[in-house]
Amino acid sequence: MNLRQKKLTIGIPNTLFSSYHLSFWRQWITLSGMEAVLSDPSDIETASRGGRRLPHEFCIPVKVFLGHILNLLEKEVDLILLPQMISSGKTNYFCPKLIGLPEIVRYTTGLGAKRLFSPEVSCDGLRLQVSKFPTLGPALNWRMKAATRQANVVWEGLLAKCRMERLTLPEAAGELQPNYLGNRLNIGLLGYAYSLYDPFISKGIVNLLYKFRAKLTTWEMLDPLEIEGPLAGLTRPLFWNFGRMLLGAGLKFLNDPSIDGLIYVTAFGCGPDSVATKILSIEAGQRERPFLQINLDEHQEDGHLRTRLEAFCDMLTALKEE
């Protein structure tokens, strides 16, 4: 392929893994001399198109993800980025649905392997490692190898910014504006980036909490050591890397008196969270700390969500005033 004539366009589905590592992937693709195209923000159409092609028991993030893939196909990109997630080490796994993602996409959309751009990737929750590059000619491969380190620098820079300025991932990346209205409360907010920061999936929980004049603390704002510390006390910490961060952060929040309450946002039928939330709710019960778990699915009505969040915030305020 002659690179000078036309740049190869790579479609990035802007959900699931990209909710964490979008800055990495965008940087990596641009530095390798290709063009990155993002999918449109998710909406009800994305979810229902994806959901129709999957067994109905899948969680909403995967359904939305498939909708994003279909959206990218309409944009006529050359290739679609779909990393093959593999485990690195013995205690570091992705959720099975994420490991099987390339197969799920291939068998539900009929996309051939030639349309997919699948580097093999492992991640310890923070740093991404690309272990196998897709074969696109020697020149491009060499560039991809060189770009990995720089892209990791960008990603780690973003995380450092989150920690320094107490911002959530999309706020640090400049995609969302922090919307502080006060810090009546300090809430520890837990949830996977792809459900929490996607305004369609989470129905704007982050903004709602800002509206109730809460200050938010999330796992990105913690030092990795603060997350690992409480995990060391468990006989069997979680082996899923994203879930592990949340459990560690949750346990840290429970020990931290400056956090008024915990909210765990999860998706209906999420496997790793069924374990993590149970552990957290038992621990929270033992320490008598307020803990709210919210399950999300495709339902669009958000009145009940508003009521529950408001009630929780009111309760926390009352507790604080006591």
Partner: protein, 364 residues
Amino acid sequence: MKITFPYMGPVLVYKKLLERLGHEVIMPPRPSQRTIELGAKYSPEFICFPFKIILGSYLEALELGAEVIITTGFIGACRAVYYGDLSERILRQLGYPVKVIVFDSPAEGLQSFIRNCREIGNGRPLPEVAVTLNLVVRLIYASDYFQKQINHLRPYELCPGTADRKWQEIQALLESCANLKQLKHAVKEGGRIITAIPINKQREVLKVGLVGEIYLVMEGCSNNEIELKLARLGVEVVRHQYISNWFNNFFFPPRKLLREAKTYLKYAVGGHEQENIGHILEFKKRNFDGVIHLLPFGCMPELVTQTIIPALTTELDLPILSLSLDEQMGWVNNQIRLEAFVELLWTRRQLLKEENDAQFICRG
């Protein structure tokens, strides 16, 4: 130390092992509707169905006075990894001062494995433990061998229910074995019992493979005795998931089977999904009429298999029925799906036969 264990596979054999090591064993009752209700009540809502059953059976065993639970674990991406730990937390929260001993594979933590073995070994001398283990492993293989025979014969039996009654007899026989000599005798006797079951070998039956999540496939109480129900519909059910097969696969991974499955699913995602795909391919090669795939509601690895199944069905020209089960005990909808599936398989067989006949006549 009053000890109990999860209800899975040849439970009588586990009881024998622990008793010979000098423990007092509290036998977990066979899971019933009450067990499942108890388990579902105290489990996280979205955890898989087998956890709910196992937690329920722990609770019933604790009511009978158990103090220690032994179970197995491993390291991986499937939730089954946390069964032991999570149940211990839940039971402690409910106020039971229970201790859960989780046996990981020795490759994943030799020290804790040895420590656990010491604790369970109860200070018995090593040669005695070795003799017991030898007997127990042989008992497991014998028990699985007879269960396979019974599953094979069930659709052919003249008087429905005979095979299952005989299975109870064989189990009692195996349980009474105290040494290898008695086991040898029991195996012979078991063989005689099996040949004595009156059968009608001429009966035309369908052959269906059963794949899926290991607990649901193995445990009749969790899948509403699907093997018995299919046998009543004139279907012989073949499955590859037995404890003895699990041993075999653990020590000698089925390389060829996995290689074939890898063309469909490149990486293992944590459960038995690659083995299941391999078994589906193998069932096709053995000319089975269809395959039934069982998964617990929301099972992560088997959901990946389920997305591949439509492609497998068209590619192999093999009917596959996926059934997702949970604590909803109503069976009628599944029964109707099973009956419709069996009907479809009979029609397919008939059509294939007619097609063959037509080709035969045309060729003259």
